[in-house]
Symmetry: C2
Subunit: 152 residues, 2 copies
């Protein structure tokens, strides 16, 4: 299975956007992320519906952050993506008639559920603002990289 990197991707985008005034076109963001504009629009669609970002068409259009970064957690962003599966493993059959399989599922589900809960809790502890803070530390004296400067 290919690993789902949408959460990683969308956070990358948001953090870039938070570093300088927008709006940003899908085209610009795609160049910075080394991917396709349509992919950007796809993973941003959920955030737009919830209102974390806004998008404008036409000249001077593009994407803009429309939320309080200190109020939105990584878990919120994950939810905006539609809560995709977190674990790469699962049960063979979800509601088996076989008692043996029921026993196996019960044991695995306990471990799986615990791990999922912890992961979601951890994501819920980190806000986008905290991510931005951490980035600022990493930047140190270095100048911020203007993603709009990328030209084909």
């Amino acid at each position: 299975m290919k690993r789902d990197s949408r959460l990683s991707g969308v956070l990358h985008i948001l953090l870039h956007m938070a570093q300088q005034p927008g709006p940003f076109t899908s085209e610009t963001l795609a160049r910075a992320m080394d991917t396709n504009p349509v992919v950007i629009r796809r993973i941003m669609a959920g955030l737009r519906e919830i209102g974390y970002v806004r998008s404008e068409k036409g000249h001077g259009g593009g994407w803009t952050i429309a939320c309080d970064l200190s109020k939105v957690t990584l878990r919120d962003v994950y939810a905006a993506l539609g809560n995709p599966p977190l674990l790469a493993m699962g049960n063979r059959t979800e509601s088996p008639g076989c008692l043996v399989e029921q026993a196996v599922n019960a044991a695995l589900d306990q471990a799986f559920d615990d791990a999922e809960a912890l992961l979601l809790a951890r994501l819920g502890e980190v806000t986008l603002a905290m991510l931005g803070e951490d980035l600022r530390k990493r930047l140190g004296s270095r100048k911020i990289h203007d993603i709009s400067a990328h030209r084909a």
Copy 2:
């Protein structure tokens, strides 16, 4: 990505085998698991190498449990499968030059690593013998299902 169900599958097999004396052919196990004999051999291969099960060719051959069920944990079985990925999500780039992506990775890795560690710990707490105990409770008065009875 399709969900990996090998751990679920191999546990199902082991638990079935623990309920009655062997050996069991891949054919028989495949029928009970509603899958293909080759799939059985594949997921059992790792367990054989470590010595949790043995396999014999020819007449009267098949698979036999060759370990102390109270000594082998679900984590051990998982390891025997080759430690496949646990999480369905990951970072876009593992060693990014972009500082923004580094900040994102750092935040996500912390959550990911914690969740993986917890999952492995939970799997390490459960032995195959404990699974068998749980199964016996679920069986209650019911008679055990003889998987060898399946006939095409």
